[in-house]
Symmetry: C2
Subunit: 109 residues, 2 copies
DNA sequence: ACCGGTAGATAGTGACACTGAATAGCGGCG
DNA sequence: CGCCGCTATTCAGTGTCACTATCTACCGGT
């Protein structure tokens, strides 16, 4: 893989993180580990933190500082109503794109 | 839709165009019209031409100038071996991403 | 005292799609 | 004839997003 994934993630990584947060609240480091587990081995730590700050500024998540037993305090992110709405929109957009791509792959051109 | 699609297209639009060219040779204006037909109404003309120049410079396509009955000569693009290899890679990357996304949507988190 | 693991922040870079406008050839209509 | 509309391509400037690389900071164990 490599650069191709990087470009394809633009616009989708945000949705991926919001989808994770829809399942349960989480903090940055946790999300990064989870992504690595799921095969996204190439996603840099810094990328996730930058993304989290972005969605926080847009008001898609609520933030709470929670002291950690190990290391500095965690910033725990929780999806709010605006974030859920944006996530719904994301899935609609994804479905649209996904369907066209599958048609194309089948040679329906 | 709107901006969300735009960001999601990064990295995939290139694959879409190559997939079209895998079916048959085509020129820019034709590809744009085809995309609009298929629901990609928001893709700007300029975007496609810029993309075509890019994939030409990378050597994924062969180019032939064909005089047109109407308007200036067409630049007809044909997918070559390198392009086909890149397209195969694209589908692999797409499958990877697509599978994780579907898992996420099903709440497999 | 140091190191490894946990946790987060940030400045600079590159790639890609969009906007908006310009150029150019051709046919038809008044 | 002159202008409009359709076909067809090009290009300069913009914004967004993920990456790289680096830095700060807290903790436990050796």
């Amino acid at each position: 893989m490599g650069k191709q994934v990087t470009e394809m993630l633009k616009g989708t990584l945000e949705g991926i993180v919001l989808a994770i947060l829809a399942g349960r609240p989480a903090y940055g480091y946790e999300i990064t580990s989870w992504l690595r587990d799921k095969g996204f081995t190439e996603i840099a730590e810094g990328t996730i933190y930058a993304l989290l700050i972005r969605i926080e500024q847009r008001g898609y998540v609520d933030v709470e500082k929670v002291p950690s037993e190990k290391g500095p305090p965690r910033k725990v992110y929780t999806l709010n109503a605006d974030g859920q709405a944006y996530l719904d929109e994301f899935w609609t957009t994804w479905s649209f794109l996904s369907e066209r791509l599958e048609q194309l792959r089948k040679g329906d051109s």
